[in-house]
Each structure stands twice: as C-alpha cells, then as structure tokens.
C-alpha cells in the first residue's frame, strides 16, 4: 500500500498532465498492473481537473461554425441512411417485378411506335409537299398554256414569220399579242451544235440600238419547240424584227452568230 500511496499523491497532477515524464511513466506502469484503487483515483481526478474548464470565460462561437457542423453531420447521416433506403432484392414482390418489366416493354414499344408514327408523318408531309409543288407546277404550266392559247387564238395577235437563212429550210411562226406576249413555234428545226442553244432576239427600231436578248430553247427530238415570252423586252411598236441565232449554252447578252431565223414585225 505504501507503493500505492506514493502514486495516489500524484493522481491529480497526472490528470492535470503536469507530471514530468519519469513520474508519468512510473504511474502509468502502476496503472497498467491493474491497481483498481489508483485507477479509480485517476478517473475521479480527471473529473476534478475537468471542472477547471468552468474557470475559462464562456464565449460563443460564430453561427457559421454551427452551420458548417450541421452541414457535415447531415451529409454524413444521409450517406449512411441511403444504403438502408433501398429494399433488398428479396423484398421486391414478383408482381412488382412483373409490373416493372411490363412497363419497360410497353415503354420500349411506345418509343418505337412513336418513332414509326413520326417517320410516317414526316413521309406524308414530304409527299404532300411534293404534291403541292406538282400542283403549282401544273397550275403554272396551265396558266402558260392558257396564255399561249390566248396569244395563238386571239385575233388581235400579230403574225410574224421568221424565215430561215436557208431558203429551203423550215420556217418559224410567231404570234405577238400586245398584252399577253409572244409565242414562237417551230417544226423540223435542226438541232443546234453541241453545247449551243437557240436564242430569241428583239431587234429594236431605234437606229444603233443593240438587239435585246430573250429566251433560249432547244428543239425536241422531232425538231419541235414552242417558246412563250410573257414579258417581251421591247414593245411591239418599238420592235423592228424578231431573230433567232445559235448561241453558247446559257445564252449571250449580244448575238455572237448571224441569225438563223428572222422576221419583221409589221
């Protein structure tokens, strides 16, 4: 016991952390030997020393510290709670699995069906657009045909004969209506040279004024063509003659070849 008394005197200083290394180690060796009295004395001494905390001036930490701490502990609490939130595989009833599977299959079918309907609608829209375009084209052609027929049938139209440079060759016919335009027609017309077209010219009456370029055409396989000029570049009164020459593909702003056909506007 004398040995214990020696250590018992030091328990408060030990709990305070004031013992120098030699004394501290000696006491710890004694405690490690399992002395219950000294162990209890040290534990009670720790309580005594802990009471010294009350001698420190009380102070409030910042609200930010509490905020940081709560943010951290909430995140840790949630991260630990998540694994338990999911039910185990065996806890999922069969009917629920079957329902989920059916829902997945239905979702895939719906997605496929939606895609198919979308494609069909897009194709229908394209077809409708084509039809509208064709109708517009037909309407335009019909309008031109009407105009062409009007020019050809109207007694007010002026007939113009365009004679060929070859007296034995075919002639072209033209009709000019002051309001609806000019129609030029030909049959058995020789094909122009490769990469060349036939171009219509309006020859002005005004002296020194250059021929006015107009539309281009290539006869069909039978040498036929019909050319409609809805808006002649010159009025009938100001036009001396019509002429057609062979010009490079794409036309020319002025004649580059002598006229193959020409006829005066009376």
């Amino acid at each position: 016991m004398k040995n214990c008394d020696q250590f018992r005197e030091r328990t408060e200083a030990y709990a305070l952390g004031a013992l120098d290394p030699e004394e501290r180690v000696a006491l710890e060796v004694h405690l490690a030997s399992g002395c219950p009295e000294c162990t209890k004395a040290v534990e009670e001494a720790r309580w005594l020393i802990s009471q010294l905390a009350y001698t420190a001036p009380e102070a409030a930490p910042s609200d930010m510290l509490k905020g940081r701490l709560l943010q951290t502990v909430r995140a840790e609490a949630q991260s630990q709670a998540k694994p338990h939130a999911l039910p185990s595989k065996s806890a999922i009833p069969f009917w629920l699995l079957a329902g989920v599977a059916a829902l997945v299959v239905f979702s895939i079918y719906s997605a496929w069906n939606t895609r198919r309907l979308h494609d069909e609608i897009r194709e229908a829209n394209n077809r409708a657009a084509d039809l509208v375009q064709q109708r517009q084209k037909i309407e335009q052609e019909l309008l031109l045909a009407k105009r062409e027929a009007t020019i050809l049938m109207d007694p007010g139209s002026v007939n113009i004969a365009l004679k060929g440079s070859d007296a034995q060759g075919p002639q072209l016919k033209a009709k000019w209506h002051s309001e609806w335009g000019v129609v030029v027609m030909g049959e058995n017309i020789p094909m122009p040279s490769p990469h060349h077209v036939l171009q219509l010219w309006f020859i002005p009456k005004a002296p020194g004024k250059m021929p006015m370029p107009s539309m281009m055409v290539r006869p069909d396989a039978n040498g036929r063509f019909v050319l409609l000029v809805s808006s002649p570049p010159e009025s009938m009164d100001a036009t001396k003659a019509l002429a057609i020459s062979e010009e490079p593909e794409g036309g020319s702003p002025w004649p580059t070849n002598p006229p193959r056909y020409s006829g005066g506007v009376s």
């Binding site: 305070l16 004031a18 290394p21 534990e43 309580w47 802990s50 001698t55 420190a56 701490l69 502990v73």
Partner: protein
Amino acid sequence: MSPDATLVPRLLQKDVSAFEQLYDRHSRLVYGLVLRILQQASISEEVVQEVFLQLWRNADQYDPSRGPFVPWLCTMARNRALDRLRLKSERQRRREDQPDELPSAVVAPEYEKVLDDKRRAERVRALMASLSPQQKKAIELAYFEGLSHSEIAAALEEPLGTVKSWIRNGLLRLKEGLQATS
C-alpha cells in the same frame, strides 16, 4: 437522468437533432475553454469543430454509466486544444497519434451532484479564487498551457518541489471545496 444522457445515445442512430441540441447546450463552454488555451478565435473554432465531429463520429466511445458527459467532452476538448498548442509552439512532448485519442474514463466522485452549468461555473470559480495566487497560477499554467511541473518551475523561477506543492495543495483544496458544497 440528465438530458445529455438521453441525447448522446441518439448520436449512435445518427440523430442530427440530438447533435444540434448537444451543440447548443455545450458549445459555449467548449469554445470558451479552447479559446482560453489557444487565444485565437479562428483556430479555436477549428478545434471545436474537430471536437464535435469526433463526438458525432465516435459517440460509442462515451459510456454514460462511467460518468457525466460534460467532463468527458471538456477533457476531449482540452486534449485537442493542448495538442494544437504544442504543435503551434513546436513543443511536442506527446506521441504524434495522441490527437486522435479519446479521453479515458472520467468518473464523477460520489460527492458530485448534478448541477447546471451556470451554478457549477460559479462554484468552481469561487473555489479557484480562494486559492493562493501562486497555487492558482501554477494550476492555470498546467491546465490551460499544458506545462509540466518542471516547465512551470522554470517559468515562475521557483523550486520544483514548491511548484509541486502549490499544484497538489491547490487541487486538494478545490476537491475539498467541491465536496463541502455538495
């Protein structure tokens, strides 16, 4: 049963509300203690944060049957603050792994009564004020600055035996005073 005895076990279920209540109840005491040791608010808040996170993560280390909660918490806070102080002053006397150690059992003696913090603080301060200035100074150097007998003797330029007597007699008087007022 004190509120702490019911709140601490709830930490094991990761009850954030219980943690918040414990923080609200004791953060001022813990922060005051740590600030008294470290003297710097920013570092003190770091240490207090470490203390409460350690409590949150290692609540199972506290055994309510072995003693009250607050002395255990204050012991943990003091140990951490002194470790930081020693790191700061490069006076490493202890093992490097000690900062992560939790305090050993802090057992309340039989004479201990359950008092609220305010009355307990008044009682302890009154008893400390009754000590001789030398006793009080020596105990404070040991408690708040973590100095050993030899270091205190050197700091106060007093014989080692005298310093030991001041500390021992002062702590015994404190103990007797607490027993007498219980």
